[in-house]
Symmetry: C2
Subunit: 207 residues, 2 copies
Amino acid sequence: MELGAVRRARTRARVIAGAFELFGEEDGLHARIEDVAQRAGITRATFYDHFSGMAELRDAVTYEVTHDFLTAVSEALARLPDPRERISAAIRFYLHRVRAVPGWGRSLINLSANGIIFGAETFREAEQTVANAIAAGQLTITDAALGRDAILGTTIAAISTMLREERGAAYPEEIVAVILLGLGVRAEDAGEIAARPLPELIFASTE
Amino acid sequence: MELGAVRRARTRARVIAGAFELFGEEDGLHARIEDVAQRAGITRATFYDHFSGMAELRDAVTYEVTHDFLTAVSEALARLPDPRERISAAIRFYLHRVRAVPGWGRSLINLSANGIIFGAETFREAEQTVANAIAAGQLTITDAALGRDAILGTTIAAISTMLREERGAAYPEEIVAVILLGLGVRAEDAGEIAARPLPELIFASTE
DNA sequence: ATCCCAATCTGACAAAGTGTCAAGTTGCGG
DNA sequence: CCGCAACTTGACACTTTGTCAGATTGGGAT
């Protein structure tokens, strides 16, 4: 191990964890470097020893906060043979997590500079899954980008709604049913798929 | 007329028009007060004589830029008896305008602090229209907020996509068909409604 | 135990942007 | 062509960002 590397890593982790909290609070958009440093118990100078500025911090927090979740989701989805069920499960994982950890959702929304919560990776994955479902003849639409827009757009709107107003516990399943139906899944299948038990989600312990 | 009011109004209009241009450009998010003032051909001091700051300017531009369009849309929709067709036409008005005037779409996206392009007014209208369609027995969903999320979320994703990648001229109609189908419009109706000729859109001449 | 060196702290600085103000100039409306 | 409001000029205080030199601290190798 490099000299002082553990201390450095610990500090970095404290900064990211603190910033994540901050971004998830009311008015988290307007957090200043000073606030972030104070929350982490360090000085501004030290902050700049770890990050070049706010943009880099945002990227780091985004990565740290989504990476475990995203890989866990990816792995869980990989075990589902039906593309339609993969779509369903992905959306429900997101929405259930937002329901369970509202600060996570708020942080995500605040982190996204211009409303695009989902990174390029998620973007491509969603489109790919839709393409697979199309290839399997499960959908009536023929444009994967169209399906991706419906999925991600509706999901982010649902997240925003769940954070703003009280929605029932069944909201994620209802959202999924509407999306699947829109993509052309047969009506009698859409509801059933949306209600299937979710596979277990195992997070990599970064401890 | 008050003393000097016309000059004042003209200056204000120049500021708003210039800021609108600026917001629609690449990197329009980071426009400074100085830039806005320069574009309008005035000094910073004069800017502050009209607006308290960036937030108020953003509000003013948002209002100015959407109000005519929104009222025109509202009026055009009012003449459509079928709630499903009102949903369809509203979405298509937005998407076609973005296609015709990309700067308008970029400005809207940049103006929205956190991705919520649509103001509270539009929010309520969308939900109300969905509620009407539900009451008319045209949809299978029963939750108007759900329909609103699907409509607005998918629409904003589609706008974002149209500004980023090249999409065919038929994209708006395809988007509408997916949304209507998702809400539970019968498959044979969804496509037909999405393709109906749009009513004329008459803007109030603010000249 | 203790020594080394990277990590952190202290305190200061320059630069950029915001918001305000007083005093002077300009141009529209009567 | 007069008066008043709109605008300009030039300056200032304040906040936030980003950097830096020098002092201090703490983890890990010996």
